[in-house]
């Protein structure tokens, strides 16, 4: 961070990341019941920076500056705050001690990572709903604002704010602690942490307008949290599998949307836009996920993503291998969505007729009633078979179901393809 003061620019997301780790750290020192106080003092430190740096430039070590000012703000707040009465002096001592640790102390770095980890585990307590866990993790560990979380989830600010208030009062009322759970409880908690991270990731990954970077930030944050858990001593193979899965997916984000904000199907993506660093990260964690016998849902999905990542081009994708992996996926998670995804691969390996037969039983599945991908996949298969009118009807049906604007434009393009195919068929 010393280099920052020389170039006059800050590290990307420094404030967001620093806010997250400082809130986690101060919450540990102040106690989880005072999580609001931790957030306020961190906010105060950032405001102080905002009032100072525009005139005086960057301090020598921007991150350490924020850290120190936040500690001092916390010490002032504890001295003012009568609620902490009997413990005040002890807390002030802890805060002063923590503030005096030099920024380059390697133990401090480790301590901060540990604080973040404990914070995520508390946010993902089974008594807190998954939606609230995600919002709370993003707010406290991720350094996202209420408005940013609301934008990422396409929700109202007030709804997110309320979710956070509820989660925090649960922390207070149930006296949740930052102690790591042990034994069987640790295993369960880890599973819910992964579930929350994966949910966060999927929310961001769902097709979105290319302009709105906040949802990409959501993917990056999920990946960062995954890496944090993977780097800890409690990581098990499925943690690495999830990180691998996310890294492979994020590596293709830039290629997935074109300059106009339209979706680019996998087969037309420019592989040069794939982020090789992230693919490398993906394979690194994929290898580590192979330790042990457990094969989780994340393992199978990571293996599918790895197979795509390995293919030098679309025509070289090993479809039979992917079909085999989908068979495993289906065995672990026999959900209609997995059946549908597997059908796309059946279409590649055995042909569109067989794929249509696979999805036929899904037509009356109530879970997929408003899922646009079911008619969209059907339309795609019918189009391949030259049944253009039926395909067009499917894409029209898909357009009547809820989906994002880029997805909508994609479906309209497919609809136009059907019409063009019909006209070409009449000419020849």
């Amino acid at each position: 961070m010393t280099a920052a003061s020389e170039t006059g620019s800050l590290l990307e997301h420094l404030f967001r990341h620093q806010a997250g780790r400082m809130v986690a750290h101060l919450t540990r020192l102040l106690g989880p019941a005072n999580i609001d106080l931790a957030e306020e003092t961190v906010q105060e430190a950032m405001l102080r920076a905002l009032q100072t740096w525009p005139y005086e430039g960057l301090p020598e070590n921007a991150g350490a500056w924020l850290f120190r000012v936040a500690h001092n703000a916390a010490i002032d707040a504890v001295r003012r705050n009568r609620l902490l009465n009997d413990k005040s002096e002890a807390i002030v001592r802890e805060l002063s001690l923590s503030a005096s640790v030099p920024a380059d102390n390697p133990d401090l770095e480790e301590q901060l990572r540990d604080d973040e980890l404990r914070m995520i585990f508390m946010c993902c307590h089974p008594d807190i709903s998954r939606e609230s866990s995600v919002a709370l993790s993003l707010k406290t560990v991720g350094g996202f604002s209420v408005r940013e979380i609301a934008r990422a989830f396409l929700a109202e600010d007030a709804a997110i704010a309320q979710r956070l208030v509820r989660a925090k009062s649960q922390i207070r009322e149930q006296r949740l602690t930052l102690d790591m759970p042990r034994g069987g409880e640790l295993k369960d908690r880890l599973a819910s942490v992964l579930d929350v991270i994966y949910f966060m990731f999927n929310e961001g990954y769902t097709a979105h307008e290319g302009q709105d970077l906040i949802r990409r930030d959501l993917c990056s944050e999920a990946l960062r949290l995954g890496c944090l858990v993977a780097a800890s001593s409690i990581a098990i193979p499925s943690v690495h599998a999830l990180v691998a899965l996310m890294a492979f997916q994020v590596s293709r984000l830039a290629a997935r949307v074109d300059e106009a904000g339209d979706l680019v199907p996998f087969e037309f993506q420019d592989h040069k836009l794939w982020d090789q660093h992230l693919i490398g990260l993906g394979f690194h964690h994929f290898d580590q996920s192979m330790a042990g016998d457990e094969i989780s849902e994340y393992h199978v999905q990571a293996a599918i993503a790895a197979t795509y990542a390995r293919a030098p081009e679309w025509h070289a994708v090993d479809w039979p291998m992917i079909l085999g992996l989908y068979d495993q996926f289906l065995a672990i998670n026999p959900s209609p969505v997995v059946v549908l995804n597997r059908a796309v691969v059946v279409g590649k390996v055995q042909g569109p007729e067989e794929a249509l037969a696979v999805i036929a039983p899904l037509e009356n599945n109530s879970k997929l009633r408003s899922y646009y991908l079911l008619p969209a996949v059907r339309g795609h298969l019918l189009l391949e078979l030259g049944r253009n009118n039926e395909a067009a009807a499917c894409f029209s049906a898909a357009l009547e179901r809820p989906c994002s604007e880029p997805e909508r434009r994609f479906l309209r393009r497919k609809l136009a393809d059907c019409e063009r195919a019909t006209i070409l068929g009449q000419i020849s």
Binding site: L10, F15, L47, A49, L50, W53, P54, Y55, G143, S145
Partner: protein, 112 residues
């Protein structure tokens, strides 16, 4: 070349609504301004509003005012060089202070 002082007034409470990410962006925009070729100086003023001394009945007296209705304070100033007042105004139009809801008062500094 003549120098002009850009007096930056603003309501610090306005910053509270910004997310950490947006705060960082704001700081980067201001700092970019301190590095402009025409910027000569930038100084922050203490955010606690100062006291005002005036003479009352021949004796100096310090008071806490006068403050206007708004919470706006003079947060600091930048000194820039420009060929003319109009030129200084034109440059100041791009100052981030305006983007963040504050005001910029432009005054020529004589003798510089």
């Amino acid at each position: 070349m003549p120098q002009y002082m850009l007096l930056l007034h603003g309501d610090p409470a306005g910053w509270v609504k910004l997310s950490p990410e947006d705060m960082q962006k704001a700081i980067e925009k201001y700092m970019a301004w301190t590095k402009k070729p025409f910027t000569r100086d930038s100084k922050r003023l203490a955010d606690e509003p100062g006291r005002v001394i005036r003479s009352q009945g021949g004796k100096p007296k310090a008071t806490d005012g006068p403050y206007s209705e708004t919470k706006e304070i003079l947060a600091g100033y930048y000194t820039i060089e420009a060929a003319s007042y109009d030129e200084a105004v034109k440059l100041a139009l791009n100052h981030p202070q305006l983007e963040y809801g504050g005001t910029v008062e432009i005054r020529q500094v004589y003798g510089s």
